[in-house]
Symmetry: C2
Subunit: 126 residues, 2 copies
DNA sequence: AGCTTTCACAACCTATCGGTTGTACAAGCC
DNA sequence: GGCTTGTACAACCGATAGGTTGTGAAAGCT
């Protein structure tokens, strides 16, 4: 029940991060805890809308809220960010790797002076 | 026109990464170039749907396509991933930082034995 | 030239998103 | 007890996302 739905986690996290308002909320929260009302002010959207955004962020486990009377201070939870960062880092590595191998391959092709070879592995080489 | 709409870039990239199908497409492309048709097979969706996904990925500049006859090999573009990775890394740093400072702050509060201080910077401390 | 293959565009449908307004509920203040 | 504050839930709305089917265009095959 842990490693199976990492995909779902990724979807939740990336979806949450896909919204500029939500990123702004996270950025603001990073500079200090705030209540939903405080968060609503600078964003020119209603308090209810912020509440929804917080719900999304909470669903993605990017934040956690503690009930303190009627105030709902939001705490940032960096753990899920690691999930996203991990995916990106992994793929960045693969891509960089592939890019290197691609250049090698193209160099080899150029050296051999043939022009057709296979069916893939070609990129922007006009 | 470069540093201003980084927000837009982030939105595009995170939105693109928010879809499991698109992540699967990227993962598959990372293991080797493929055409839209080849990508369509394992995903149980139509070729047209994959074409749309590729368009989104291209719009986010996560991939670039080259026209080779009727085949459209997709090349991965790691640059935009850096944008996303940068944002995450930055915020992970801030969050970790905040977490440290928070603990420091709480320790300081505990040491001083006062109970009010400011208006923010409080978290789960029942 | 004609057929096939590979892809993308267009139109359409449904579900979800991001937003609003209205309301309710729980907790402090008078 | 009653008012105000802070937040969330519900209903609604327009726009968009993700999917489908249908069609057409461009390049290769025979």
């Amino acid at each position: 029940m842990t490693a199976v739905d990492v995909e779902d986690e990724l979807t939740l996290v990336f979806s949450a991060l896909a919204d500029p308002t939500r990123r702004a909320i996270l950025a603001r929260l990073a500079r200090g805890d705030a209540t939903a009302g405080e968060l609503a002010e600078p964003f020119a959207i209603s308090q209810q809308a912020v509440s929804k955004h917080l719900k999304v962020l909470e669903g993605a486990r990017l934040i956690s809220r503690t009930r303190t009377a009627q105030a709902r201070p939001c705490a940032l939870d960096p753990v899920r960010l690691d999930t996203a960062a991990g995916w990106i880092a992994r793929h960045r590595q693969v891509w960089a790797d592939r890019h290197d191998r691609l250049e090698e391959h193209l160099a080899a092709l150029r050296a051999e002076q043939q022009g057709d070879a296979g069916n893939d592995e070609e990129a922007a080489t006009p």
